[in-house]
Symmetry: C2
Subunit: 303 residues, 2 copies
DNA sequence: TCTTTACATAGTCAAAAACTATTCAAATTG
DNA sequence: CAATTTGAATAGTTTTTGACTATGTAAAGA
């Protein structure tokens, strides 16, 4: 337990520095007895006499007071630094911010996003996290990151969002698949094909929902949480898959060519949002990063 | 101006560390709302949200809160060190103490004194100052040193003293002086001799007072504040001197032999005391050093 | 000697911080 | 899945702290 206050220390340091309680009081814009009392109390609480009072001739430090004085100056500087740190995290456009992303979205969007941001705000540092939807929400709530890029699906009420873009789901087929003859593919046409399901919440529910909306019961041959594994299986001809994010170059990790076709008819698109915890007051850097994300996706759409 | 308190920081650090306001309150022996309110206020004053409150699941730090937390831990440790420093200067027998001495007494007494003290209290450090009576009193008042070894002559009321020893004044003559035939010397016998006066307050007044008390008007040939210069002049046969402190070996700096004889009849002795400022509350080390001085001079007398 | 200076003390009042009791929402349990 | 428990926030009250004005006091200085 600390038995003194920073205010007492401030009064003491100034009075000792000026050699005068009156001058210290003037500089602090408080009354002389306030300073006097604060120092007296500080002495009681520390159990040492810090100042020698002279009549009509100010004060001087005792040898013990001189030792405390230099330590106290140090401590006050330290205390000011802490205040500055806090001020800068809430006000300035410097500091650190933790941005998380849903796994499948991360490699597609984050590199371009943080790249441009780092150029515009060189004093900032953006930390990247990848997680499943569930962990993203948990992480926001526990303060592991301030912002998360994810699908606007089944988000609880305490999570606030800003819309960024929409992703149109598509059908992924191996390069020699007969359905690639058409410009688009009806989900009905896939009824008798084996499906490779990307098994990550909320994608799983989303894709299965698309199938059910089209009145099709999918035949799930494989499922995996890894998009690259799904793409690999499709590439080897084990079935089709539905995906929303689309890596550049329709080729699997092991070099198999893939084919892509839009889904025929109206489909529910995947709404990508930037989420944060509603009860978390945003720092300045958070606000700037949010605005930057919105702008970034707007620019992309207009290209 | 610092806008937060160490108490708020303590509450925050403990709550963040425990992940729980309730547990922090228990460990601090205060009520839960007190901790809650203190942290809320701290957040207002720093302008940053530090904790995320969960219902029925404690609290977690925001990323900004985590930064503040580590700084705050640091600051609190620093604050505790300051308190410990103060406690040790007033309680423990370690630390620093400044001991001053009247110039003529210093070379005679201080070496043996601080030598033994340093052995008994290895954690302590005694700083030595030498000054005239006037400067000693001023130094005590201004806090340049806590203790001073000096003559108990004309001391103001605000100076407190502890008696240490008495010095018997003696007559200093050059080695071939005829008065050395006698076992002691009457001051009357010096009436027609030139006097070399040690001109330092309060010695000057003291020695002149001795002469006047014996009904002798001294013929002052030379005067100097330096005892060694006085001894040198006596050694060269320029006159006699009266002194109280007596260096070992009655020889001047330049090798002239000296003779010493006590004063015949009753004389006022020089009372050596250890002085301190009455309004200065003594630190532990001061008390110990004072006691040590008393003991040291007692031992000397009993040898 | 008289005035000025500068710190301490006394007494009052407002702000801060502590407490108890209660509320509220999520997590846990039967 | 309703009931209970948990843990933080809020409301209202009391105590403590700190600031103020006015006054006292003793040394410094004119």
């Amino acid at each position: 337990m600390i038995r003194y206050s920073l205010r007492q220390l401030e009064y003491f340091v100034l009075a000792a520095g000026e050699g005068s309680v009156v001058k210290a009081a003037e500089r602090l814009n408080v009354s002389q007895p306030s300073v006097s009392a604060a120092i007296g109390k500080l002495e009681d609480q520390l159990g040492v006499q810090l100042l020698i009072r002279h009549h009509a001739a100010g004060v001087s430090t005792t040898p013990a007071g001189a030792q405390v004085l230099s330590q106290a100056r140090n401590l006050l500087q330290h205390a000011n630094e802490l205040q500055d740190l806090a001020a800068s995290t809430s006000q300035e456009i410097t500091g650190e911010v933790h941005l998380a992303s849903f796994v499948t979205l991360a490699p597609l969007f984050l590199p371009g996003l943080i790249d441009g941001f780092a150029v515009d705000y060189p004093g900032s540092r953006v930390h990247i996290h990848e997680a499943t939807q569930e962990h993203l929400i948990d992480g926001l709530r526990r303060g592991r990151f301030e912002l998360a890029l994810l699908y606007d699906v089944d988000l609880p009420e305490d999570i606030e969002t800003v819309a960024l873009t929409q992703l149109h789901p598509y059908v992924l087929l191996h390069a020699t698949h007969p359905l690639l003859k058409h410009d688009d593919v009806s989900l009905k046409d896939l009824e008798d094909e084996p499906m490779i399901l990307l098994d990550v919440a909320p994608s799983r529910t989303y894709f299965l929902g698309l199938m059910r909306a089209a009145g099709v019961e999918p035949d799930i041959a494989f499922s995996s949480p890894s998009m690259e594994l799904v793409r690999g299986l499709v590439g080897k001809g084990h079935g089709y898959s539905l995906l929303a994010t689309r890596p550049h170059g329709d080729v699997t990790y092991d070099g198999e060519p893939l084919g892509v076709r839009p889904i025929r008819g109206p489909v529910e698109t995947g709404r990508i949002v930037l989420a944060s915890l509603g009860k978390l007051r945003p720092t300045r850097l958070m606000q700037v990063l949010t605005a930057y994300c919105v702008q970034h996706f707007e620019d992309k759409r207009n290209q």
